[in-house]
Symmetry: D2
Subunit: 483 residues, 4 copies
C-alpha cells in the first residue's frame, strides 16, 4: 500500500458525478472551477505534506489496524500523543493554506468517535456496527480518502424536537429501512470542504428520544451519491475568486456547502447507526470533546499567519515590526492559548475500551469559549498593526492597479519605502482575506456554538463540591440551598 | 433661501465631470452606476432627513452667519450643544443608512476647524484667510453642499518627514504659488464619500516645520476639478453591489477613494492655508478632537443596527431574543460608551475666540481607543447571537436561492418557524454586511490610528501632578526621577 | 454668611453625642479616635479646599436660593455645567484623600433629587414637602453641613417585598405617624462617611406599592439623634489604622457604617416623604442617574492616584516609568472613560421643572458597568507595574522595619537605587492600600449593583426601534416576534 | 520507610531554632504562634492528605530512586503524567487550604530542575553535583521533608548587574569558598511558606556572566541554620490573625518571608552550584517552565473555592445561585484555562536525559500571562455576585457582632432568609479573605513577572517562520526587513 498522491486525488475528484452548484450553475470539474479549485488546492497540500520529509511525521502514521503507513487523517488515535498530532496537523494545515480544510478533519474525527460508539452499541445491543465501520476504515486507510463530515441539520424551528417539526425533513432522517440499507431525506448545512472531499461522514444531533429514532443516523456516503444535491454557500468577497489578479490573494481557500438529500439510498455497509437514539448523546459528546480540543489549533494556525502578515505589513508600510511587539505578543499568547488548552484537554482525557482516545469534555468545551473570542482580538490587532489599508482592504482593485491609464498613479503612491507597491498591496489583501474576507473560517459556530460549550462547562463543573470546600474553609456547617 | 432637495443634489452630481474610476472603468454617472449609487443614496437620505419633520431638529439648524435655516452639516458649531448635534447627526445617519456618509461629516468638521485656525492665523500673521473661508462658508450654506474631507496623505516612507521623501509627491504639496492661487500635486487616500460629494476639503498632516512648508496646505476643491483623478477602493464583497438580488442587502453603502492630484490649480478664494506650517498642528489637533469625540456616535449608530439585527435574526432562527439579553446589553453598553464618552469630551471642551466650540483633546482621544476596540466586540456578539448562518454569511447566493432547479430546496431548509426563508436570508446578509462585509466602516484607522490617540492621552495626562498626589498621600518627600 | 472652616467643623463633631461603635467599643470623639479620625481628616480636606484659591472654583458656588457663596456640596445643581462640577468635586476629593468622602456626596445628591421629587409630589398631591425641604436646605447652606446619605436597607430575604418580610424591620419603616413627625425603625447598612457627617439623608428603595407605603420614607436626621446606634464596618487591614507607623500609609480614610434605628422620632420639618410610595421610583431613578454619572469621577480620581503611585514605585524600584507607558496609558484611558462618560450622561440630561438638572438615565447606568469593571483592571495594572512588593503588600511590618535588632537588614535590602528604603516602603504600602487595602472604596456595589444598571440599560434601550432600522435596511417587511 | 505524619512534622518544627520574626517579635513556636500557625496548618493538611485514601493517589507516589512510597512533593517527575500530578497536587492544596503552600511546591520543583542541571554540569564540567543532589534527595524522600524555595534576590538597582551593584549583597552571594563548603551573604525576599518549611532550596537569578560567578549559587539549608534571620512580611488584614473570632475566617493561611543571610556556612553536601554562572540560565528557564505550567493550577484551585463561595453567598443573601450562572461559568472557564493550558504546556514538553520531564517553555510562559490576569476577573465576579457585603468585607467586626449591647441588632439585620447571620458573615469574610484579604496569593509576580513571561513568548515564537508563511500565501517574493 502506498500513500495516495496529489495526482490520484485530483483524478478521483474529476471522475465524480458533478452535483455541486454555486452562483446558479453546476460545477463540472471541482479541480478547475474557480469557485472550488482553491479549496481543492488547500486539501491537495495536505496530501503533498504526507510526501514531504519535513512534514511526514505530522501527516502520516502507522495504522494500528494494518501496520501500514497511512495518511494520518485516516488513522485511529489511540493515545493522547496521537490526538495531539490531530492538533498539530490542523495548525500546520492552516500554515500551508491559511484557512480551513474540512475534508481533512471532520470525517477523521467521525471515524474515531464512531469507533468507540459502535463498540459500545454492539456490546450492549448485539449489533454489528463496529465490524462494518472497521471494514470501511480499512478501505479509507488503503485509499487515503478525504472525508468531510456533517452534523448540522437545517433544524427548522429550534424550539421543537425533530419529531415535532411541521416539516420532518428539517432534520436528516431515515424515511425507509430496507434489508440492504436505508433511504434518507433532509439536509445538512454549512459543511466545510465538501467540494474537496471524496466522501461525507453524516452524524446526528443529540438528545434524541424514542420518538426521534428516525433521526438517529450515522453513515458515510460518496460525495456524488445519487439523490444528493450540493450548493456551496457564499463567503465574504467570494466573487473575487472568479476574477483575475491578486484581489483574492491566495491559491487556497475554503468552502461551506448545503447538502440536500432527496431519498438517497445508503447501503448498510456504510450505515453505523440507524435508530439507536440512545447513543446520539455519546456521538455528539465525544465528537465535540475532540473537535473543541483541536479546533484551538486551527485558529492558532491562522493566528500564526496573522502574526507573520502583521509583521510584514508593518515593514511594507515603512516601519519596524518591533514597534508593535506588545501587540504581536498578545496575538501569540492568544494563539498558544487555544492550541495549548486544547492539548491540555487531550492530555486530561482517557482511553476508551475500544482503543481510541477521548479528550476531556469539560476543558475541551472551555477551550471553545476561547476559540469563539480570542481570534477576534487577534484579527483586530492585525488590523490595528496594518493600518487603514488593511482594515477594510481599502485599496483599489487589481484592474485599477493595472490600469494603463492611471495604474501608475496607484503604484506610485502605494510605495512606502520597503518593497514594491505590489508587495504592499498583496499583503494588505492577505490581511483583508484573513480578517474580513474569504479566509475567515466559521470557527465560532463550527462544531457548535460557544453558548452550548458554556452550558457544558457549567454542567460538568462540580458546583456542590466547590461549595463544600468553601463551607469547610469558612467554618460554615449550615446547609444552604438556592432560594 | 430654501433647503436643498434630493433632486437638486442628484442633478448636481449628474452634471459633474466624470473623473471617478472603479474596476478599471470610468463611472459616467455616480447616481446610477452600481459601484457608487449606494453611497449616493446614503447621502441623499441625509438630505431627505432635513425635510422630515421628525428629524429636522437634528438635520437643520439656524445659521449664525445669516440667520437662515440651513442643513446642519454646513453649520458652524458655536456651543457644546451644537456639537452634540454633530454626534446625534452621525448616529442617526447610521440608523438611516447602516454605514458611513463621509461627505456629510468631514468637510463640516474641516469648515469648523478652519474657522478657528484662520482666525488665529489672521490675528497673528495679518492674513485674510478667515474672510475667504467665511465667503466660501456662506456659499456652502446657501447651496447646502456636501463636502468630503481629506487628510491622509500617501505618506511614502513613514520614517521620513515630507521634505525628506525621495518622492516629494508622497505628501500633497504646493508646486507653484501664483497670485491667483496655488498649483498642487500629490494624493490623498482612503477618503470616504467622495463619490457622493460636491466638493472636497483638503487638510494637511501635522508636525511640519519650515522645511515642510510646501505641504502646509488647506483648500477646498470641486470634486470634478481639472487634474484630479479618483479611484474608488474596494471593500469586502463589493462585487455583490454589481449583482442582482439581496446578497448585497442594502440600497445604501460606503465608498473610500484614492485622489490623485496632477498639478491642479486652486484659486486663492478656496485656499485657507498655504505655507503656514506652524498652524498644521492646530488643524490636526482641533480636527481630531472633534472627530474622535463624534466618531463614537458613528460606531454607536451602527451598533444600534446590530442590536436590532441580532434580535431579529434570533427570532428568524426560531428563538426568543431575550435568551441573548446579556449579550444585547453588552452591545448596548458598548454603543452608549463611545457615544456618551464623546458627548462628555464635547462637554469638557471650550469656546474658541473665533466663536466655534472645540472639544476636549485628552478625552476625545481616549474615546478613540474605545472606537477602535468596542465595535469589534459588538460585531463578535452579533455573530454569536446570529449563529453559523451569519458568521461568514454562510448561505447560498441569490442566484442559487432563486434557482428554478434547486432553489426550492434552499428555501425549504432555511425556513425556521418564524418568517420566510427570504426574511431569514436577508437578515443574515445584513449581519454579514455589517460585521464582515461591505458595511464595515474604517473607524479604527479613520481619522488616525488608535496608537496615535494613545500617545495623545499619555502626552496630555499630567503624570507629574499624579505622582505629586501619590507622594503627598504616602508621606513621601523625596524627589524620585526615572532611573 | 461665611464659609464654614475646618475648626468649626471639627468642633461640631466633637460636640455630638457619641453613638458610633467599632471593635466592640464606643467612640467618644470621632476626630481623634484612630478608627474614625482618618475619615474625618478626609472630609476636613474638602472644607479646607473651599478656602483654597486654587480649588475654590470647584469647592464653592453661589446659592441660587440666597445669592450667597456656599460650599458646593450644599448647592442645588441647576444646569449640566453645575452637575459636571459634582464630578470634578469628586475627582478632586480623591486626589486630596485617595478614597471616598461620602458625607460630601450622597446627602448633596439627595437634596437635589428631593428638590425635584417634592416639587412633583406637592404639585400632584398638594403636600408641602418642597417648602420644608427648602427650609432645611437654607439651613444646610448657611451652616455648610456635611450630610451622609443612606439608601441601602438590610433587605432581609431579597425575594420578598418589604411588607412580605417575616421581620418588617428589614426595611427602614414608619412605625408611627404623629402630627409633629414620624417614628421610624429599621436599619441602613454600609453607609459611607457617617462618622464624618453632621447629618444623614435617608432615602427609600423603589418599586413600592400601596402595601409598602410605610417604607416610603425620606427624611434627614442629625447623626447623633436619639435612638440611633451606629456600628462602623471593617475594611481590609483596618487594624493598621490603630497602629504606629506607615503600614497604614495615609492620614485619610474611609468608613462604612451600619445604622440601627430603634423607634427614632423625626420631626416633620425634616420629613420629605412619608407614605407616598408612588414616588419612590422617582427618588431612586433620579438618585442613581446622578450618582452613576458622577461615581465615574470617584474611580477616575483614585485611578489618577494609582497612575502616580505606579510611576513612582517604578522609579523607587530603580526603573524608568516610561517602560510601563502602555500600561499607564491603559490606566489613564480607564480613568478618563468613567469620568467622561459620566460627564456625557450629564450633558445628555435635562432640566426638571423644579429647576434642578437631571442626568440621563440610560447612559448613566451604562457608565456604572464600567465603574464596576475598569477600576479592577487599573488596580491589576498598578500591581503589575509595582512588582511583588506591592501585589499583596509583601514587606515587613513597620515594627520590623524599625527593629533595633534587624531593622537595618530590611532597610539595607529594600534600597533599590532611587530613594530611601522608607520611600519605597511607603509607596508599596500606598499601592497596597489603594488596590487591596483600606483605601478600596465600595464602588462596584455602592449606589446599587452593576447587574441592576445592566437591567436599566436594557429597559431603556429602544430595542424595537433598532429592529425596525434593521428591517428597513435589510428590506424585510415581515413582522418577527419572539418565538 | 513510612510516610511522615502530621505529628512528626509539627514536632520537627517545634524543635527548630527560633529565627523567624514578625511584628517586631521573635516567634518561639511556629506551630502555635498566631502569625504562623495558619501556614503550618495549611502545610499539615498536605501531609494529612498523603494518608487519606481518597487523596493518596495525588499526594503520594513511588520513588523512582528507591521504589518506596513517598510524599509526592519529594518525587522526581519523570513523565508528563507525573508532572500533571504536580498541577493536580497544587489545585487540591488550594481546595484544602484556600491559599498557597509554598513549602510543598518550590523546593520540589527546585529538586527536579537541579536534577537535570547537575546532570548537565557534571557531564560537561566533570563536577559531582548530581551525586550530591541524589544523596540529599534520598534523605528528602526518606524524611518527607517540606522544602520552601527561594529565587528572588533583593536585587538593588534593577538596571545594574549583580557585580555592578554598589552593595554586592543585594544578590545572594558566595563570600568565601572553603574545602568543606561555602559562606554566603545576602537576602532572598518574599518567600512563601518558610515558616512551615523544614528546609529552603536557594536558587539564583539568570543571565549571569563570568563577573557574576559569585552569585551563581544553588544550595539547600535548614530553615534554622545559624546566621539566617527571617522576617515574615505582612499581608492584607494580617492583624486579624491575632484576633479572636471569624474575621480571619480560616484556620489556614499563607506567609511570605524575607531571609537575611549573614555569612552563613553551607556544607558542600548541600551545595549544587557554586560559581558555574553558565548554568544559571538553565536553572531559571527550567524552573519557570514547570512553575508557570503548574501555577495555573494554584489560581484554578483558589478560583474553584471562589466559585463555591460565590454560589453560597448568593444563597445566604437569599437568592438562587443560578441567577449568576453566566458569571459562574466565566469563573469556571477562567479556572480551567490556567489549569488546562498548564497541562498542555506539560504535555508539549520533553524528557531530559537525566530522566526528569521538562515542560514546554513557550506555552508555559503564555500561561503565566493568564495567571496574571484571569484571577483578577474571577475575583471581580466573585465580588459582583456577593454584593456590597463582600466587596470590601463591609460588615462589623466580630467584637461588634458579639457585643452584648448591640450585637443582636447586627445579627438581626444580617439575617437574609437563608441561613443564620453568622453563616452569612462567615461567607462574606471568606470572600473578603479570598479576593482582597489575607488569602490572596502573590501569583502575578510569584515566580517572576508577567512582562518577563511575555518577553519569553516573543523570543520563542518563530516570527520569521510566520512571515515566511504569510509571504507564501500572499505570493510575495521580496524580502522585507524592519525599516
Amino acid at each position: 500500500m502506498s500513500l495516495r498522491t496529489r495526482e490520484q486525488y485530483l483524478q478521483h475528484l474529476k471522475n465524480m458525478r458533478p452535483n455541486i452548484h454555486k452562483f446558479g450553475r453546476l460545477i463540472e470539474d471541482v479541480t478547475t472551477d474557480p469557485a472550488t479549485k482553491r479549496v481543492v488546492e488547500s486539501h491537495a497540500r495536505g496530501i503533498d505534506a504526507a510526501h514531504d520529509p519535513q512534514l511526514s511525521e505530522i501527516f502520516t502514521t502507522t495504522s494500528n489496524l494494518t501496520g501500514e503507513t497511512i495518511h494520518r487523517n485516516t488513522s485511529l488515535m489511540t493515545s493522547a500523543e496521537e490526538m495531539v498530532f490531530n492538533s498539530r496537523f490542523k495548525r500546520e494545515m492552516y500554515h500551508l493554506t491559511g484557512s480551513c480544510t474540512g475534508a481533512l478533519c471532520v470525517g477523521w474525527n467521525g471515524f474515531n468517535v464512531m469507533w468507540s460508539v459502535t463498540h459500545d452499541m454492539d456490546k450492549e445491543l448485539g449489533t454489528d456496527y463496529h465490524a462494518r465501520l472497521k471494514e470501511w476504515g480499512l478501505s479509507l486507510q488503503e485509499k487515503g480518502l478525504l472525508v468531510a463530515g456533517a452534523l448540522t441539520d437545517a433544524k427548522g424551528n429550534r424550539k421543537l424536537k425533530p419529531h415535532q417539526q411541521p416539516d420532518l425533513d428539517c432534520t436528516l432522517r431515515i424515511v425507509e429501512k430496507r434489508d440492504d440499507g436505508v433511504v434518507i431525506r433532509g439536509a445538512k448545512v454549512m459543511i466545510c470542504g465538501v467540494a474537496a472531499a471524496d466522501e461525507i461522514f453524516l452524524m446526528p444531533g443529540s438528545g434524541y428520544r424514542q420518538e426521534d429514532q428516525d433521526f438517529a443516523l450515522v453513515c458515510v456516503v460518496p460525495r456524488d451519491i445519487e439523490g444528493l444535491t450540493i450548493v456551496e454557500a457564499r463567503h465574504p468577497s467570494d466573487s473575487r475568486e472568479l476574477e483575475e489578479g491578486f484581489d483574492c490573494p491566495t491559491e487556497t481557500g475554503i468552502t461551506q456547502a448545503y447538502l440536500f438529500f432527496e431519498d438517497v439510498f445508503v447501503p448498510k455497509e456504510r450505515v453505523f447507526m440507524a435508530g439507536e437514539f440512545k447513543y446520539t448523546g455519546a456521538v455528539v459528546t465525544r465528537f465535540t470533546a475532540t473537535y473543541r480540543s483541536c479546533i484551538g489549533a486551527c485558529v492558532a494556525g491562522q493566528g500564526d499567519v496573522m502574526v507573520g502578515a502583521a509583521a510584514l505589513i508593518a515593514r511594507a508600510n515603512g516601519l519596524n515590526a518591533k514597534i508593535f511587539r506588545d501587540k504581536l505578543i498578545q496575538m501569540e499568547v492568544n494563539n498558544e492559548t487555544t492550541f495549548t488548552m486544547g492539548v491540555g484537554a487531550i492530555a486530561l482525557g482517557q482511553k476508551h475500551p475500544s482503543g481510541v482516545w477521548l479528550a476531556d469534555n469539560l476543558t475541551a468545551h472551555g477551550n471553545k469559549v476561547h476559540v469563539a473570542t480570542l481570534p477576534y482580538e487577534t484579527k483586530r490587532l492585525t488590523q490595528e498593526i496594518g493600518g487603514g489599508i488593511v482594515e477594510t482592504g481599502c485599496l483599489p482593485s487589481f484592474q485599477d492597479f493595472s490600469s494603463p491609464e492611471y495604474g501608475h498613479l496607484i503604484r506610485k503612491y502605494l510605495t512606502a519605502g520597503a518593497g514594491s507597491a505590489e508587495t504592499r498591496a498583496r499583503l494588505a489583501r492577505l490581511i483583508e482575506w484573513l480578517t474580513i474576507g474569504g479566509g475567515v473560517p466559521g470557527c465560532m459556530h463550527g462544531g457548535g456554538s460557544p453558548d452550548g460549550a458554556r452550558m457544558v462547562v457549567f454542567a460538568l463543573s462540580p458546583l456542590e463540591k466547590y461549595t463544600d470546600m468553601a463551607k469547610r474553609l469558612a467554618g460554615v456547617e449550615e446547609d444552604l440551598q438556592d432560594q
